[in-house]
Amino acid sequence: MAEVHVIGQIVGASGFPSNSLFCKWGIHTGGAWKLLSGLREGQTQVDHPQFDNVAYWSHPIDVHFATKGLQGWPKLHVQVWHQDSFGRSELYGYGFCHVPSSPGFHPLDCVTWRPLGSWQEQFSQLFVGGGPQLLNSDLIYTGADRYRLQTRAMGTVHLQLAVLLRNFDRYGVES
């Protein structure tokens, strides 16, 4: 079987309405993929940056997959949350990006969005915060059921991923 290593960091996020952010992340793969070692999902620390308007997480990622096919190439999905001074968490954005298919080091920027509620919900959100969340988080990385959703653009999550491939050329796969 061919092997894929994804090693790197979730560096941080910028462009969100306020800082003090953390991120829940996960890697979704197709059925032909097997996780050999490493963590498939996790949650970062909460950063209150001192100067910049960039929250830094420096969260390490190191996963090792074996695969029998190219379908379902790994996708990394993120949820950015904001933690306020009372320790309450509120959703700030969903996003996903494909793990690059060419070997090497890749700096990536993952754009995010969040669902919009009705105007009543948006009005109350102005005062009490919160907001609608996805019931089914599969929607973050699938395109099948999105057409009913209304969303708003949020900030960007910055990643640095290195992809190492093994034995792909033995099967004639060019990457």
Binding site: Q45, D47, D52, W57, S58, A162, L164
Partner: protein, 206 residues
């Protein structure tokens, strides 16, 4: 050097330096480094950890803190999983002269042969309650990680609150041996090695 036809291990040779740091609020800092790596990895030569000198800014001329501290280490492994990370912790005196931590940070050793520059964000853990904040200020003891190596691990991070307050710039020269023979592709022919300078500089200037 005897050429081995069917190698079972690959080598990763890292040399470089901890060049400099940007901590706008602090001065007289020193830096500790150590490496964190997976079970399949073993260092074959070089120093796994070190402590730099105490450096200060040159006001008006050089806003950065310069360490120019060398790193030189070689690893061997059978599996890229657990690729080495360098963990930095920066310390300096507070107003009472106690040594307190000014930042933790970590980054993976670069993957492709060549020279690379990395600028990494540095953060300190924060007290979670106002009372703890007050007592730590009073006693002059800031919260610290018991083991700085936690910053290189992905588990258990969700409980930590941090404040990022500086950057450290590192340069690396990486040489690998026998990775290709073991079937690994580290870089693509279509995509040349990202230019070392353009990547490292301005990394934190999104």
């Amino acid at each position: 050097m005897a050429a081995v036809a069917n190698p079972t291990v690959f080598l990763l040779m890292v040399s470089g330096q901890i060049e400099s740091a940007q901590f706008p609020e602090f001065d007289d800092l020193y830096c500790k480094y150590c490496f964190v790596y997976g079970h399949d990895w073993a260092p074959t030569s070089g120093l796994e950890e070190g402590i730099s000198q105490i450096t200060s800014k040159n006001r008006g001329y050089q806003p950065n803190l310069v360490w120019n501290f060398p790193i030189d280490i070689t690893f061997k492994s059978t599996n890229p999983f657990g690729w080495p990370q360098i963990v930095l912790s920066v310390y300096g005196p507070d107003v009472f002269g106690n040594d307190v931590v000014r930042g933790y940070g970590a980054v993976h050793v670069p993957f492709t042969p060549g020279s690379h520059k990395r600028t990494i964000p540095m953060f300190v853990p924060e007290s979670t309650s106002m009372l703890q904040k007050f007592t730590s200020w009073l006693m002059g003891r800031r919260p610290e990680f018991i083991d700085p190596k936690v910053v290189a691990r992905g588990e258990g991070r969700e409980v930590t609150r941090v404040r990022s307050q500086g950057f450290v710039t590192l340069s690396f020269n990486v040489v690998t041996k026998d990775m290709k023979k073991l079937g690994y592709e580290v870089s693509s022919a279509a995509m040349p090695n990202p230019a070392a300078a353009s990547m490292g500089d301005g990394l934190h200037r999104y």
